[in-house]
Amino acid sequence: MTQHLSEHDVRGIAEYTRIGLDDEEVKQMTVDLNAIIDSLAPITEYDLAGVEPTFHPIGDLSNVMREDVEREGFTQGVALENAPKQQDGCFLIPSILGEGGDR
């Protein structure tokens, strides 16, 4: 089996996808992912020169848009109904210091 991903790589992916894995889980995930990626080999062996990709399996459908007309949405109460934590009409989250957002 080819080693597509090291445990270090898997840790990086876990960090990017924000899934906390312990050492044991990283080890298992590395084995699983390498096995799956191995099984994807056929896709890399095709001669696809000149073949256009099909990103949308919808035939010739294009330019699907709506008119700029208001639609009734949620009240604040409904918007926050499923919020794990809320305060002052807003969703409440703990400190975001250290988040890598580009803001």
């Binding site: 294009s62 699907v64 848009m65 009734e72 918007a79 807003c90 969703f91 409440l92 400190s95 957002g101």
Partner: protein, 524 residues
């Protein structure tokens, strides 16, 4: 730290801008029918789509696509018929889906440009401009009488959606640092946003500021955004790097954020250029990083260091059909294109004989250019004659008043008819320029016509030679000593005589006529 002009002796700055504009003039968001409204109660303009609820799907707002095509046409872009939306994947709590729907390698608008007129003090920021003769070009600039024209390339304008808003609580002044928690409001999430990216064609902070100003004028003219830098509907990030004069290679760039006014844009860039020069001259290294302009501390501070290029896992958005814009669609949008500020300025020059400078300043704001046009209509046959003084009144007095009072022109008692009447009174020598200023103030303060104010205050300037001659004779006769002094060569005494005449005429004598007559009589 060196001053900017000193830095420019050695270094050339390379600046590119990324300008985001919210399409605030639309009714609804980019991908759902929620109302666009600034300042509403938190989370009251939300739905499954903009809250990113499981199962919700986006549907693009046609008017937003029309707006971006309009923006592209107004900035000389090629409109790309075939394009797609993409998902830009990264997790951040103000982004409900944890991906931003944006465009990929092909945007709706590609390869545009704007030409900037840089003159006056702004032009002097350019290093050794005087090495160029009028009409000569160097790189992307061409020398003009009073400055130069800079040709600034626009890489693309793409369509995307804005994020929600966060308030950071528990730290100082709403900053992230020190905050114990944050509050998220998704009212803004999904607001249609267009991002314009320039080529790295700008060389001075003034050029950057002028580009931003010009773009704002265009966006306002085509009516796609309220362009409020204060409320964040127009935002600008700058990419800055330095290279030694003559070098071809680009230096390492930093990305500058929080330049939320024209002044901040200029000052932030100027500071960053000087900071980079200092680092480089001390043998240091510029890191590719995002920096935040702090206007109160007058410096930029590091927000985060980019060790590697961000990997946003961009891929075509499967929930949105691709675009295949038709010629008919593009032409329908083109038909909505109004006269743009540049075209309007050229028309003002040609139709009313205004100088390029006056014309450009009039079209800077839609309300002043509209006011000017209304004045010209009110002036009727005298339009060409009154154009210059009307333009002066608007550019100087009116603009100063509006800025000082912070009001809109339409909300003041100054109508185009009153403005024309005021200018006409002064042009016909009925009132002096000093009186004109008083009348202007009184019109605004008392909401009365200029004629009425002049009448009421008995302000009419006396230019009648006969009447003035009598006063002049009287004053000369009453002050033989001063006459003698004048004849001895002390010509400054004429001021005394003018003052005396004015006093006798209760300030209503035409000073020009008084001066002429005095000079004549005293020379006898």
């Amino acid at each position: 730290m060196k001053k900017l002009e000193e830095v420019f002796e050695t270094w050339e700055a390379v600046i590119g801008l990324e300008i985001h504009a919210e399409l605030t003039t639309l009714n609804t968001k980019m991908f759902c029918g929620c109302k666009l409204e600034f300042g509403a109660e938190p989370n009251t303009h939300t739905c499954p789509v903009c809250l990113g609820l499981p199962g919700a799907l986006p549907v693009p707002n046609k008017a937003a696509i029309e707006s971006i095509v309009l923006a592209g046409l107004a900035t000389n872009c090629d409109i790309e018929k075939h394009s797609m939306f993409y998902r830009k994947n990264y997790m951040y709590p103000d982004m409900a889906k944890n991906f931003q729907t944006t465009q990929g390698p092909v945007a709706f608008c590609m390869r545009g440009h704007l030409d900037l007129d840089v003159d006056g003090p702004a032009a002097r920021e350019r290093y050794r401009l005087d090495d160029l003769g009028v009409g000569e070009s160097d790189g992307n600039i061409t020398r003009t009488e009073d400055g130069y024209v800079a040709h600034v390339g626009i890489t693309r304008i793409h369509m995307e959606e804005d994020a929600g808003k966060m308030v950071h609580v528990g730290g100082g002044e709403g900053r992230i640092a020190g905050a114990t928690h944050s509050l998220v409001d998704y009212n803004r999430a999904g607001t249609p946003l267009i991002e314009l990216v320039t080529e790295p064609d700008l060389r001075t902070p003034e050029e950057a500021r002028l580009f931003m100003q010009k773009l704002r004028q265009i966006y306002l003219a085509i009516g796609i955004s309220d362009c409020s830098m204060e409320e964040g509907s127009l935002r600008c990030d700058g990419n800055v790097s330095l290279r030694r004069r003559g070098a071809k290679e680009f230096g390492t760039k930093t990305e500058l954020k929080n330049m939320n006014s024209f002044k901040n844009l200029h000052d932030g860039l100027a500071y960053e250029i000087c900071r980079q020069a200092e680092v480089l001259e001390e043998g240091g290294v510029i890191y590719q990083e995002t920096r935040h302009w702090d206007p109160s501390a007058k410096r930029t501070i590091v927000m985060r260091v980019k060790e590697t290029a961000d990997d946003y896992r961009l891929f075509p958005e499967p929930d949105l059909a691709p675009y295949d814009l038709t010629d008919a669609f593009i032409e329908r949008v083109r038909a909505k294109l109004p006269e743009l500020p540049d075209q309007k300025a050229r028309r003002f020059e040609e139709a009313f004989g205004l100088s390029a400078y006056d014309a450009r300043h009039l079209v800077e704001h839609r309300e002043t250019s509209r006011f000017f046009e209304a004045c010209m209509e009110a002036a009727g046959g005298e339009a060409a004659k009154l154009a210059k003084p009307v333009a002066n009144l608007i550019i100087n007095d009116v603009t100063a008043y509006l800025n000082a009072e912070g009001v809109a022109l339409a909300a003041t008692p100054l109508s185009p008819a009153r403005a024309v009447e005021l200018v006409r009174l002064q042009a016909s020598d009925a009132i002096s320029s000093k009186q004109a200023r008083q009348v202007f103030a009184a019109v605004l303060a008392e909401d009365k016509d200029p004629e009425a104010i002049v009448e009421e205050r008995g302000m009419k300037q006396v230019s009648d030679t006969g009447a003035i001659e009598a006063v002049v004779a009287e004053v000369i006769a009453a002050n033989p000593d001063e006459v003698a002094r004048y004849k001895d060569g002390n010509t400054k005494v004429i001021g005394f005589f003018v003052g005396q005449c004015m006093k006798k005429m209760r300030g209503q004598g035409n000073p020009k006529v008084i001066n002429e007559l005095l000079a004549r009589r005293l020379a006898e």
